[in-house]
């Protein structure tokens, strides 16, 4: 019996080489992706934890521009009883235009294009360290500088190159000693970045810096007390310095994780879809094979094999395929993982692999193996239902149920060509079988389209409208600095008189105070005319009158506001009753913002000018000119701003998207080949009959192509429709979980890419594969009919 079993399995492997191989490839790819995704997430989390451990970022930090009472802050902070460590880091904020680099090959450039705030600091003493690429805390000699990794990646600056800083008529030159990892500000999402100097160099630069800022940072005894500490710190009664954003430990961690995390998430989702496809394909192949081998199974049963024996005979084959695929996938995931982890490795330094890192891919693929075997067991239940007599006599597993569709098998008289009618009839009668192909196309187009839509949304200039800012050509930002008013006046005049500017609007950011359940809290406000540069509202509208206000979603939640509510806000000594007229989603400034049109007499934190240029204007040249004319302002092309803000996410996503796209096309072509081969095999007799009756090979090929095209396009279109309907709520939910201040997500779709990558490519690949396979119709001969 045993020998018989093995020889049957061996014969099956030889005879159905292509089918078995395809199934193997599928299981292998899905298990590989799943194992890789899990591995990457595990190592990412380990690596982020590791860099967090080494650098020890603050649990809570407050950025502050300007002077403050340091002793008072220290007394307050330590007096809360929550704080274990406290420090103030002073920083010299230097505009990118003043930071130049000279590479060893004499290539020169500057950081004017950078959107990031460039802070020059000395190494901290207690926590929040800057580390090198070996995750060692960096100590420098005078004249040396540590360069943020993000700039090393962007500009290709290497150790040994020089950085030249111009500040207040003075020029400082430093040699790049090392590249820095910065857990607190490492991501482009954080909006700022730190350069490290020797304490002596720092004091010199700081004393001449036009803009001095500080980070007030604390480490708490308990991480769980962050919220409590934040509330205390922000309570107006405590009068803590708050001229800048505040950030908490979870956000630092999230910002570090999001790019690679999103990529891993996409890989895992794709692998899940692949597993579903593998299961569908396996079911289809098993059922097809069973149908072909019914008589053999009947004979096996007739000669005395039990149902269990026949079952195990079939299970054995798939068990071998699944086992080998899963084992190989687990091993291969270490290799593929390395590719995906190269970015993580650079950003955080790869954490030491734990025993779990080695075990996890095997555990993941073992789980897949169990799922596959469970689903196979269900499919093979059909063997238990087999009637030996009908298997032997009719070649059917169970007695024919007289399919109603088959009884109604009338050839449609609608079509001139009978092959068209025959094709459509086949679709109607074998719907279940054709659904396999449709499902694969549907799922594959979805796994291409969802990440594609996320990518096109994140990289679209319109995306910013969902994030609390409006679309424009150029944004000029002026932050607090000496003689601010005069400088702003100059910019204002220029914005009105510059012939290249078509439209200019000015916005001012300032602070008010509003009462929440935790007492009076700082409220970040922006004032200006939003009619020309509108933002996307989640509900309601933008403010139009002086006493109207729109609030961000997070502020709406924080202060418990609804549309129409009156919201008292303290502006200086005056309390203004604003009416809430709209709510928008925002990710800028931590998501806690408000918008009004009222002009105020407050200390302005930032002036922003939104400019639209005249048609045909050279945007880059304009930015260069203005950057030169207004060196203290940050002049940025809007597109540049987007790409710099979400650059980390989009580049990881683009990587994952490319992998998914290529994989999907491979899967589609494999499935299409497998599917059509099986169908042609089953149809061989009918095709040969048609040839005998006088149909041409082209007729038969066209009939296959017609059926396939209908099914493929239905699959792709359904996939696209489902993506359009369900994609946004899913993404909104994911962003809501991340707590980014976005709860609903409107995809910004690039119609051409959407159609090309998500619909036409899958359809074309599938049809192409099928067209190639149907050329096998040429090999159909009536002579072989009896052998099939």
């Amino acid at each position: 019996m045993k020998n018989y079993k093995y020889s049957l399995i061996r014969n099956d492997f030889v005879r159905n080489k292509a089918i078995n191989l395809t199934l193997f490839v599928f299981l292998f790819i899905s298990a590989l992706l799943m194992a890789t995704g899990v591995l990457v997430i595990q190592r990412l989390s380990g690596s982020v934890d590791q860099i967090m451990d080494v650098t020890n970022p603050p649990h809570f930090l407050q950025m502050h521009v300007g002077e403050f009472e340091r002793e008072q802050v220290e007394d307050f902070v330590l007096g809360t009883g929550l704080v274990s460590q406290y420090q103030v880091q002073d920083m010299a904020n230097i505009e990118g235009i003043h930071i130049s680099y000279i590479k060893q090959d004499d290539t020169r450039g500057n950081l004017a294009d950078s959107l990031l705030d460039n802070y020059f600091v000395k190494q901290n003493e207690s926590f929040d360290y800057l580390v090198d690429l070996d995750n060692q805390i960096v100590e420098l000699l005078p004249g040396e500088i540590g360069l943020p990794l993000i700039y090393a990646k962007r500009t290709g600056i290497e150790p040994g190159d020089r950085i030249v800083i111009q500040q207040a008529e003075k020029v400082y030159s430093f040699t790049v000693k090392t590249i820095l990892r910065d857990a607190q500000m490492g991501s482009s999402l954080s909006g700022s970045i730190r350069f490290l100097l020797h304490p002596m160099d720092f004091e010199e630069l700081y004393s001449h810096a036009m803009r001095q800022e500080s980070i007030i940072g604390v480490r708490l005894h308990e991480e769980g007390d962050i919220g409590k500490f934040e509330s205390l710190y922000k309570d107006e009664a405590n009068k803590m310095p708050q001229n800048g954003v505040s950030i908490t430990y979870p956000l630092i961690k999230l910002v570090n994780t999001i790019g690679d995390g999103l990529m891993s998430g996409v890989i895992i989702i794709v692998s899940l879809v692949l597993i579903v496809i593998s299961l569908i394909t396996m079911r289809f192949t098993v059922l097809s094979t069973l149908e072909d081998e019914v008589r053999e199974i009947g004979v096996l049963r007739a000669v005395g094999l039990r149902k269990k024996d026949v079952n195990s005979l079939y299970q054995m084959k798939y068990r071998i395929i699944a086992l080998v695929a899963c084992l190989m996938a687990a091993l291969a995931s270490f290799g593929l993982g390395k590719v995906f982890m190269s970015n993580i490795s650079l950003n955080f330094g790869l954490s030491r692999a734990t025993p779990l890192s080695y075990l996890l891919p095997f555990l993941t693929t073992a789980l897949i193996y169990i799922i596959v075997m469970f689903s196979l067991g269900r499919v093979l239940k059909i063997v238990s239902k087999m009637n030996v007599l009908s298997a032997l006599r009719e070649g059917k597993i169970v007695r024919a149920k007289d399919s109603k569709k088959q009884r109604d098998g009338r050839l449609s008289r609608l079509f001139q060509n009978p092959e068209t009618s025959l094709g459509l009839l086949d679709l109607r009668i074998n719907t279940k079988s054709w659904l396999v192909l449709m499902m694969v196309l549907l799922l594959c187009s979805m796994i291409i389209l969802v990440p594609l839509n996320i990518y096109s949304t994140l990289s679209s200039p319109d995306f910013i409208r969902f994030l609390g800012a409006s679309r424009n050509d150029v944004r000029v930002a002026i932050q607090y600095q000496p003689e601010l008013e005069d400088f702003v006046r100059e910019v204002r005049e220029a914005s009105k008189s510059d012939p290249e500017i078509e439209l200019a609007r000015e916005y001012q950011s300032f602070r008010g105070m509003a009462e929440s359940e935790n007492g009076w809290q700082t409220l970040l406000m922006e004032s200006g005319d939003y009619s020309e540069f509108p933002i996307e509202m989640a509900s309601g509208r933008l403010p139009g009158a002086a006493d109207e206000m729109a609030v961000s979603l997070l502020n709406q939640e924080k202060f418990g506001l609804s549309l129409g509510d009156i919201f008292p806000v303290k502006l200086g000594q005056e309390i203004v009753n604003f009416q809430i007229v709209g709510v928008y989603q925002d990710i800028t400034n931590g998501g806690y913002t408000t918008k009004v049109v009222r002009q105020v007499d407050q200390d302005i934190l930032e002036y922003a000018f939104y400019l639209n240029l005249v048609p045909g204007a050279d945007h880059s040249a304009f930015v260069d000119r203005w950057s030169e004319d207004f060196k203290q302002a940050k002049v940025l092309l809007f597109k540049e701003m987007i790409s710099q803000t979400v650059g980390t996410i989009t580049s990881s996503l683009l990587y994952a998207l490319s992998v998914v796209f290529v994989l999907s096309l491979i899967i589609i072509s494999l499935i299409a080949v497998l599917y059509i081969s099986l169908r042609m095999y089953k149809q061989y007799q009918e095709d040969a009959t048609l040839l005998a009756l006088g149909f041409t090979k082209t007729n038969i090929r066209n009939s296959y192509l017609l059926k396939s095209a209908l099914v493929i396009f239905a699959g792709v279109l359904l996939g696209a429709s489902i993506t359009l309907v369900l994609g946004e709520p899913i993404m909104g939910a994911i962003f809501a979980i991340f707590g980014f201040g976005i709860t609903s997500m409107n995809f910004i779709i690039e119609p051409i890419w959407f159609a090309l990558l998500g619909c036409l490519s899958p359809a074309a690949i599938a049809l192409g594969a099928i067209a190639i396979m149907t050329s096998k119709v040429d090999q159909v001969t009536i002579m072989n009919m009896g052998n099939i």
Partner: protein, 252 residues
């Protein structure tokens, strides 16, 4: 006039670079309206001969003309056209399409040929079914009727385009003797109406009702037996005995 002329037909199969010549230079003619049986032992090349003559398989060398049309050099599509309009085929297994009712199976080649309107094709299919006594199962699916009814439906299908010549490969092989006799009597009737029929069979009784028997051995024509047209006055038993005797002499 000859409807089929075969000259020096050779057919060689190649499998794993082993060449096997199944037909070794066959030549014969078949007159229009003739009813010819091809016999021989298993593997003698009977079916191969039929498929090569009808253009379903490509001969290795030689010449075949059907109604003065030389098959050599004809494209797949031209051969398909010939099969559709000039030839009818009946196989041992009926090979009806399982998705179609009997009626639509029969109409299918008629719809494909487009020689007549669909109404005319359907009317002809009705008449054929009536003639072969299967009109009561017209709309049945193929698994709902008996083997004999299926074979009759296959005959109706082969006649739907009113072919000049009918090829039949063991048409009674899967039928019981009563059904087989019925099928042969239909063939005789068709032949009397002027249709040329070339049938491959291993049944001497079936062969005895044809005009002529061609006996194949090892890929060559070993002998031919002229039986002449079966007439009302013929004694079928005598023809059968004569056939059997002749076949025994050939070592059948």
């Amino acid at each position: 006039m000859n409807i089929i002329e075969v000259r020096n037909l050779v057919k060689t199969f190649e499998n794993n670079s082993i060449k096997t010549t199944v037909l070794k230079g066959i030549s014969f003619d078949m007159a229009e309206g003739e009813f010819v049986a091809v016999m021989g032992q298993s593997g003698s090349g009977k079916s191969t001969l039929l498929y090569n003559i009808s253009g379903m398989d490509q001969m290795s060398s030689g010449q075949v003309t059907i109604d003065q049309v030389d098959l050599a050099g004809k494209s797949d599509d031209q051969l398909a056209e010939l099969r559709l309009n000039m030839m009818g085929f009946i196989f041992q297994n009926n090979y009806l399409l399982k998705n179609l009712s009997l009626f639509d199976n029969i109409c299918l080649p008629g719809f494909k040929a487009k020689n007549d309107s669909r109404e005319v094709v359907e009317e002809r299919a009705q008449q054929l079914m009536k003639r072969l006594n299967i009109e009561d199962v017209k709309d049945s699916a193929i698994h709902q009727v008996s083997g004999g009814q299926l074979q009759r439906a296959a005959i109706c299908r082969s006649l739907i385009n009113q072919p000049r010549i009918l090829f039949a490969d063991e048409p009674t092989g899967s039928l019981n003797s009563r059904n087989a006799e019925e099928v042969m009597s239909i063939f005789n009737q068709l032949n009397r109406e002027g249709m040329s029929i070339l049938i491959v069979t291993h049944d001497p009784k079936i062969a005895s009702v044809t005009d002529r028997i061609i006996y194949l051995k090892d890929g060559q024509i070993e002998a031919q037996l002229e039986l002449g047209k079966l007439t009302e006055s013929d004694n079928p038993r005598l023809r059968e005995e004569k056939t059997l005797h002749w076949l025994i002499q050939r070592g059948f």
